[in-house]
């Protein structure tokens, strides 16, 4: 059993697991942090971003080549950015054969954005499993990203800066870019359609059979709508894969821990990216900061994804605004997929926390944002062009993309960035906010960083591991040492009694699971033929000689069929199953039985280790020892068989 880690970011995991001849891919996360090296895609021409100066040091450092290079690289406040088509860093697939991947198991909508890179144009022909909300919301995430990229016609792909001799002299963070040559352009809407058309949806606790060899079961992970952890079972082994999980109470169905218990291997990924902050207090401060800005007449900008925690932000913020008497302040939600993500949130009642679920029974929409929308307090648009007419300040704008490299958020930063009464509040933990703001500096707008990461914290993860008691624990290497900037916090690591096995990108690790047993079925007609011999109370044994039928990786034993039994060495005699005899011979009983068979001339002698029985009439000598008997006779087979059968009567046989 082997595990290959393909992702560089444990929060956007991608693994390949080899188990019982089946190749499974676990999640398909797309690490987006490297797009911070690119210049944002502005919505309007002539914005400040398009007027940035070329990187001055280029010609100085690289001479003639530098002139070319300076077209690729722009400088802003001392940082250098790539001025070209956004490129994404897909999982490292060069170490696996994608055409051999049988199944992809997806955990949640934020761990699947690299899927089209895996399934399209690669020879992949397996199946993909995820829950319905994961599929629908994940599709919206992909569509949003593609729409953002497509909206801005930047066509120039930059590759000169990636040259080995140039990149090593570039300033950080470009210099440390990992494998920029394999970065890829964004996929298309057609790719999304074709990729997701292969997905088969599963319910929680649905047992999905994989080639008869394994079953994969999803169980709720409490992180987002339809998010799950996977339990991969064979008849005797159990591997659990824990991805984005949350033990907090937010809108999704709570985490289901019971199926994860007592596994042979527990693979853990996607722990919190902000170990130093507490999501509950962050969401409180988010509301307070937003309300304070509004009270001062400023606007609030919240870069966000179109689903997930954003639903909770709507709920908490509207409640807080009510309590501050600011109910009339409009909230705008701008995303190419805002209508879909809001609509989908209403129809996944089965996947929600029980309090939200009970609303559906009334019947009422489960999320309060449905009411906010109908009251006009929350307005949603596909893009800023659609909202021009009813835009009222002060207001709160939720829009993407949290990387600040694409989407309508760029426009709002340029619009509001010059005034210190406005506030930008970062809540998504995926991107370091200072780097994200890089190309917009200098910025007068107030900046708040209130990351809300509901994934497991280190202490929650350690507690979970303790409860689940896996035989072996597998975690990211980075989880075994404290985060770089807080090395004095030794509690921010995964600690288990036995030191965990670690993974990092590009590594192939052998999981210490030794398979010993497989399940086989006995046909009842075969079972009827067996004659078990009781060796001692409660223990019996029977020799089985049977025909093995293998179908769909299931093994069945059936009685040997007629024609095969006849096909023996010489012809007519059936092959007798190998037989076993055991026990020690009681010489006296043996002699008595022999005489009953008509052999009367018996001489019994004791020898060193047993006895010797001499049958002078039959020209036979029987040497009896502890656990062995040797019959030496002349060529008369009838005599030998008579003695043999008599002996077998006196011994136990299988």
């Amino acid at each position: 059993m082997k595990l290959v880690c393909l992702s560089n970011n444990p929060s956007k995991p991608c693994f390949v697991l080899y188990f019982k001849g089946v190749t499974l891919m676990l999640d398909c996360g797309l690490d987006l942090t490297q797009i911070l090296s690119f210049l944002p895609l502005p919505l309007v021409c002539g914005s400040r971003l398009s007027q940035l100066s070329d990187w001055l040091l280029a010609t100085e450092k690289f001479g003639k080549q530098g002139e070319e290079l300076s077209k690729e690289l722009k400088e802003c406040s001392g940082r250098v950015f790539v001025n070209g088509v956004l490129e994404f860093s897909p999982p490292e697939t060069r170490i696996v054969d994608l055409s051999q991947v049988d199944v992809i198991l997806l955990s949640n909508s934020s761990c699947m954005l690299a899927l089209p890179y895996i399934t399209e144009y690669t020879g992949f022909k397996g199946s993909i499993y995820c829950t319905d909300p994961t599929l629908q919301i994940g599709k919206q995430y992909m569509k949003e990203m593609v729409t953002y990229v497509d909206r801005v016609p930047r066509t120039k792909a930059c590759s000169l800066w990636k040259n080995d001799n140039i990149i090593k002299s570039l300033p950080l963070p470009l210099r440390d870019a990992i494998n920029p040559k394999v970065w890829k352009k964004c996929y298309t809407l057609q790719d999304i359609e074709s990729c997701l058309s292969r997905v088969q949806v599963v319910g929680f606790n649905e047992k999905k059979n994989i080639f008869g060899a394994l079953t994969a079961t999803s169980c709720s992970s409490g992180y987002s709508l339809g998010s799950c952890n996977w339990v991969i079972h064979s008849d005797y082994e159990k591997i659990c894969y824990v991805s984005g999980s949350s033990t907090l109470t937010t809108h999704p169905k709570p985490i289901d821990q019971a199926p994860l218990r007592h596994s042979d291997v527990l693979i853990m990924s996607s722990l919190t990216q902000t170990p130093l902050t507490n999501p509950d207090s962050m969401i409180g401060e988010f509301c307070v900061n937003a309300a304070a800005t509004i009270k001062n007449g400023g606007n609030v900008l919240v870069p966000c994804y179109p689903s997930g925690v954003t639903y909770d932000l709507f709920e908490c913020l509207s409640g807080h605004l009510d309590s501050c008497g600011l109910s009339t302040v409009p909230m705008y939600f701008i995303s190419p997929v805002s209508d879909s993500t809001l609509a989908y949130s209403n129809i996944f009642g089965e996947w929600l926390s029980s309090s939200k679920q009970s609303k559906v029974y009334l019947p009422e929409p489960p999320f309060p944002h449905a009411e906010l929308v109908s009251l006009g307090r929350l307005r949603h648009y596909k893009n800023i062009h659609d909202m021009q007419n009813d835009f009222k300040c002060p207001c709160i704008v939720f829009t993407g993309h949290p990387s600040l490299r694409m989407g309508d958020v760029i426009h709002f930063i340029e619009l509001w960035g010059k005034s210190a009464t406005n506030t930008i509040i970062f809540t998504e933990p995926d991107f370091p906010y200072l780097e994200a703001l890089g190309p917009f500096q200098p910025l007068q707008m107030r900046v708040c960083y209130r990351p809300i990461d509901t994934s497991l914290s280190f202490s929650q993860a350690n507690k979970l591991v303790k409860d689940l008691r896996p035989q072996h624990l597998v975690v990211a290497e980075s989880y075994t040492v404290p985060p770089v900037n807080v090395s004095q916090r030794p509690d921010l690591v995964i600690s288990s009694e036995s030191s965990p096995i670690t993974y990092k990108q590009g590594e192939v690790i052998t999981l210490p699971v030794k398979r010993k047993f497989e399940c086989i079925e006995l046909d009842p007609s075969l079972a009827a033929l067996l004659v078990p011999v009781e060796i001692r109370p409660g223990s019996a044994i029977s020799m089985v000689n049977a025909s093995l039928v293998v179908k769909d990786n299931k093994y069945v034993l059936e009685p040997l069929s007629g024609p095969e039994m006849k096909k023996t060495r010489t012809g007519n005699k059936p092959v007798k199953p190998k037989s076993y005899i055991f026990g020690s011979l009681n010489t006296k009983v043996f002699v008595d039985t022999l005489s009953k068979q008509g052999i009367t001339d018996i001489k019994l002698e004791d020898s060193d280790d047993g006895s010797i029985i001499h049958l002078p009439n039959d020209d036979t000598l029987i040497q009896v020892e502890q656990g062995s008997t040797h019959i030496m006779c002349g060529g008369d087979e009838t005599v030998r068989i008579k003695i043999r059968d008599t002996l077998l009567q006196c011994l136990q046989k299988l």
Binding site: V202, G203, N205, E206, K207, Y236, D339, S340, A343, Y344, N346, I347, G349, E350, V360, Y361, P363, P366, R515, K516, F517, C519, I520, E521, L522, P524, I535, G538, S539, A540, I541, S542, M543, V544, N545, S547, L548, V549, V550, Y555, L557, S561, E564, T570, K576, K578, Y580, I581, L585, G627, T629, H630, I631, M632, C633, G634, G635, D636, E637, R644
Partner: protein, 600 residues
Amino acid sequence: MAEITITPLGAGQDVGRSCILVTIGGKNIMLDCGMHMGFNDDRRFPDFTFITREGRLTEHLDCIIISHFHLDHCGALPYMSEMVGYDGPIYMTHPTKAICPILLEDFRKITVDRKGETNFFTSEMIKSCMKKVKAVNLHEVIQVDDELEIKAYYAGHVLGAAMFHVRVGQQSLVYTGDYNMTPDRHLGAAWIDKCRPDLLITESTYATTIRESKRCRERDFLKKVHDCVEKGGKVLIPVFALGRAQELCILLESYWERMNLNIPIYFSLGLTEKANHYYKLFISWTSQKIKNTFVQRNMFEFKHIKPFDRAYIENPGPMVVFATPGMLHAGLSLQVFKKWAPHEQNMVIMPGYCVAGTVGHKILNGVKRLEMENKQHIDVKLSVQYMSFSAHADAKGIMQLISWCEPKNVMLVHGEAAKMDFLKNKIQTEFGIDCYKPANGETVTIETQHNIPVDISLSLLKREASFTGLKTPDPKKQRVLHGALVMRGNKLQLIDPDQALRDLGIKEHNLRFTSTLYVDEDGASEKLAEKIYMLAKEKIPDQPSQYSSDGSVSVSDVMITVSGEDDDTKSVLVTWSHQDEDLGSELMDIMKNELPVIVD
């Protein structure tokens, strides 16, 4: 041998009051708990005294499963759980859990408030009954206890209708509830995987019908409605609040829009309106097409269809009214019917099955003069149309479902006895499996046979595979496996025989034979040995033979030693162990026949 016993308390050779008791693997399960629309007395509910004459049902039942929210499948639930007494789990899907209490409350109101019955379940009882309900998702495997598990499949009959797969150990059964095998305007078709249950309990409402295409029926329906309203008539369509109502609303709505009609369409207030809300929130349980387009346009937001008010009954001019309940046995639909029945330009369209005893059933059978409760009479002059819109599988659909899930036995319920016979024969001849159709109270026992699961050591299994090497196994050639089955308590293990003997502390008794033959042949003993070697090779080609120059020959594990002076009689010593008894005795035979052996 294991068995499954089944007793229908209702729906045995009948439609209505579905309630089937099953014992499988020692677990007692009640499938559905419905009421009968055709009766107003005790026969309305299943006879729970069959389970126990005294006391509560809790200790006699492991769980109750409700397939969908129609009252003939869940109408007796509060009576059973609160008045007879049951505190165990009740399983149903989320939409059923949401809608069921509303229909029960409606049923209670009609019975108690309108008909003035006492000794009936109360609103409180409905509430406390629903607290015992556990909601299930499609395909989720629910572990009721350590041994019993259930799994729901989409049935497509009404919103949230499900078929249930019940499994205890290796025994399993599927109960279909009501299902529909053709997708319609608002629901998808039933689906099940090849789960190969021991028993399939299927409804058989349309056991003998093979219905024409849905499109024809729809066109027919629209034409009839249109013709009637064009002539100034009123159209009454009695429906159940949920299900057909939504499908027909979608149908009429799009037709009205296409034909640009402005004749009013009404549906009875309250229930149906609320029902549309449920459809909006449970859209993931509707058809694929509605799911795909719901973001742009929710199909359940109707423009042309408006809420109905009782006062409209007297309104002049044409109109179309959807009113509950569907069998004209009570409520608004009956009230409207009474008013409109005496006028022949009007029309009533019965879009579904009507249970015997209801007004709907009577008029469908051509009764022209109805007797009502207080000795009044109604002349039925309006045109009575029957359109089979109720979403049940027809004979073709039932056969299809059987071929999908490949059951070992089939049981027909929820249908009429005479029609069942036809289908029963068809199933028996086409699939060659047993088919049962018990009447209410009649118990059927089905024997089941299963393979016995055993743990096999991987090394033993792999050893067998190593014989064939990397070659694809020849499917015609038998693969033989030899092992020792060790039984310790309930645990069965198939392992390597030597290992098994070691584990059990058994010492194998080593039995060896040595037979001496005297051969009268001249020449060197080596020569005789060589001759024996050649003989063995020829006669027993599939065993490895070896000849060594010291005058010994081995055939597999049988040793043959020849000794004796050149011109003397040779003695041939043949030694083998009991394991090789066959080979040893065979060699003895061969040598006796082929060599000049001296016999005493």
